[in-house]
Symmetry: C2
């Protein structure tokens, strides 16, 4: 028997076939998330799912579908007011996908799915208390305490991308200002780079690019090549993340914070300033006690595997 795991990101959606052992059995299929009309997106997902059903040897070999979706609600199966997705308002995603495919479908938020994946197969194996932070288009989080995901009274717990880190700071997709994700996401990093490039005239290879060409990947590449502005962007990002993490630790005292997503490609260029900032801001009882880990699972597999484990 197999399960289908779906990782819905702000830009792309990855769909994989997961076996009984929880492994994604081959490279996940990818479609864009950018369908302005949700029913078109569900149709596109359905087509990909059909391919996987064929691969599995028929529909009776599939137990169901689990999906990790930004702002996805485990209790209701809805996507609610997701700032980084094309569909506004409340979308009955689980119900639509279940009706379209004729299979049971459970959803949770994308970072919760990644946390489930890490807890079962990844960097957080055996841990009862950890926080998963996804640094993608947005910043997501999945919080595990006492060995369980924290869903909160309404299924929406763990929106750590939307803690306020700078009052009157950058405008966020959620309508408020100064959210962590306006600084520490892929898009936040681009905003930081643009600000730094416009505020001074430090030479930078990023200046050879048009504003539209500057992406977090390009900034990451530039930093790896030693570009001064790009390095400063990661120091700034690490500092803000570290300050936020110190507050998260005061909440649930996790054994580790596990990082996941595109920005972690910067490696120690991000992790060193992050760790320094976190340690500086931690209460003395926690200094030197909290592990900072990067997901070791193949890219996107954590979320697909975690989502599949919902079924």
């Amino acid at each position: 028997m197999y399960t289908i795991g779906i990782d819905v990101g702000g830009t792309t959606t990855k769909v994989g076939l997961v076996d009984k052992q929880g492994k994604v059995i081959q490279r996940a299929l990818v479609i864009t998330t950018n369908y302005p009309v949700i029913s078109d997106y569900i149709n596109a997902l359905h087509e990909v799912i059909q391919l996987l059903i064929t691969e599995a040897g028929g529909k009776d070999k599939i137990k169901g579908i689990g999906a990790g979706v930004p702002n996805g609600n485990y209790y209701t199966g809805e996507i609610v007011l997701a700032p980084n997705l094309p569909w506004k308002g409340v979308v009955p995603f689980g119900k639509m996908l279940s009706e379209q495919t004729g299979m049971p479908c459970k959803i949770t938020n994308d970072a919760n799915a990644a946390a489930l994946g890490e807890m079962t197969y990844g960097a957080a194996r055996g841990m009862k208390d950890f926080i998963m932070i996804t640094l993608g288009t947005g910043v997501g989080s999945g919080i595990v305490a006492n060995g369980q995901l924290i869903y909160g009274h309404d299924g929406f717990a763990g929106e750590l991308g939307h803690v306020t880190v700078k009052p009157r700071g950058r405008l966020c997709g959620c309508g408020r200002r100064g959210c962590l994700e306006t600084y520490a996401s892929a898009t936040g990093v681009v905003r930081s780079a643009m600000e730094m490039l416009s505020k001074n005239s430090t030479p930078s290879i990023l200046r050879q690019l048009s504003p539209e060409e500057i992406t977090s990947q390009k900034i990451c590449d530039a930093a790896i090549q030693g570009d001064e502005v790009a390095l400063k962007v990661f120091r700034f990002t690490g500092k803000i993340l570290g300050e936020a993490f110190a507050n998260f630790v005061a909440f649930s005292s996790p054994e580790a914070i596990v990082l996941f997503g595109g920005l972690t490609r910067a490696g120690n260029l991000l992790l060193d300033p992050l760790r320094e900032s976190m340690e500086k801001n931690l209460l003395p009882i926690w200094q030197g006690q909290i592990r900072l880990l990067v997901s070791q699972l193949p890219e996107s597999d954590a979320a697909i595997m975690g989502a599949a484990s919902l079924i």
Copy 2:
């Protein structure tokens, strides 16, 4: 059978005899917490406990002792680096009290004890997800998620008095700056009043008092009488608490935040600006959804009853 419940506060310690139904059977006995030497304090506690043993009809009528202590650790029984207690470093409180009394002794932090009390007998009865915030000498917190207290990997979870709310803000007893408790505790409120009195010349009945005489109770009384400076202190305190609470909600999405402690005497003078600030800072999905409650249990009984329930 009875249990002895102890509520260790920064200033006073309350000790009560709790019956099988979890009720404190008569007014709790009170001693000062301010013994510079821990063994003197344990001796003083022991004397009070002897009185309660006599009242209960002998030692064989007592199952054990539960204590809620600032920075108390459920796993180890130790008090660790408590900024608001006279004893520095690590104090093996549970072991000392158990040896002195010859009875089993369990401890947890004071706010966790209050949360257990509220969950079993108080404003949070039947709730699976809520946050208890104690506004006393310091600011403490107990976080309940999925119906369980969150202890974290080391027993220290829930130090929400030490989230940073103002980078480079007021110096805290923990050695860092800008912690929530430097603004929203009884001592924080006094600091706010002193700042406001020194910064302008608004008439205030607080000006009739010497600086040493200004306490949070006096400020509270002044606010109830309509004193402009005192009212401004509570508006300022409410604003900061509301901003912090919005971030707490993003973490665990509680059904309610339950307030407890001396500052809640200010009632709506504190709660109105707090609610307004929290609502303004919440993500849209939570606006109007999170209840703000004040403990309905007799003063200090929540912590005593919660502490007793550890046994």
